[in-house]
Subunit: 157 residues, 2 copies
């Protein structure tokens, strides 16, 4: 499906997408994640520490942000590229923590972000990309080009 | 559930568990994975390359093998520890590629391996461990202490 990967949907005028950086703390990156789940009170230093952790493993962690005209983060998402032994030492992309600012819903920012993350995984020779979601969100991810694959199981500490 | 994490089930007499190493190529590590999925013909050099990739990220990749009395690999499994922004810069362990040699089934090696991987994730401060499985295997993972959490979606290149 080369066209699906190569033809990325356009962003609204003036919006742009790029890798996350430490300065995105001040651009509201955490507010966007708070729309998704528990984030807690993270200091600028703690934020920078995580960005630095990711930057130490540039072949594994890939986090993108979409910014609007005012340089505010309006969407965020990651793909973690895992090297395996199976599938001839293949790689799998794990899409994680896709979030869109609530007042920016309806602009297909989530799907656009996912398509960019899938493109990154493809460029790094992943044989597949997977993500876990609430069953209520299966339709959304299906619209983004993913299909149902299995069950997520968890153990919480 | 501290007892669940701390009290690991015993292995059969003479069996032992440890981190994977390059020499496990000759001990049948790939044969075990072939019981799980497509592996392909991987050379010793390719195997070593993946082990070295994992070793370059020791805080992320944790792969364990169980060996029998004859020093043959009889089970293998990994936990990938992901650093996140959500949950106060929390970490999640992704359990991947659990496989048991077919003639070694029924000795609870799979569950024992998972319990060891969960313990590693806990010792690294993960707030949860997740894995994706075929719906047919939900009961097996439930017996290992995990519960159903969500749906796995995929995109295949």
């Amino acid at each position: 499906m080369p066209s699906f990967i190569d033809e990325l949907p356009p962003l609204p005028d003036g919006y742009h997408i790029r890798k996350i950086c430490s300065d995105d703390y001040g651009r509201g990156a955490l507010e966007v994640l708070k729309a998704l789940t528990t984030v807690g009170e993270i200091t600028n230093k703690e934020f920078e520490h995580t960005i630095e952790t990711w930057a130490r493993h540039p072949e594994i962690y890939h986090t993108l942000v979409i910014l609007d005209l005012s340089e505010t983060v309006v969407a965020i998402g990651s793909v973690i590229v895992e090297s395996k032994l199976i599938h001839h030492c293949g790689k799998v992309g794990h899409i994680e923590d896709i979030a869109v600012r609530p007042n920016q819903q309806g602009k297909k920012l989530g799907c656009t972000l996912i398509r960019h993350l899938i493109k990154i995984a493809g460029s790094l020779d992943c044989y597949k990309v997977i993500l876990d979601c609430d069953p209520a969100n299966e339709m959304f991810y299906a619209k983004c080009g993913l299909s149902k694959a299995g069950t997520e199981m968890q153990f919480r500490f």
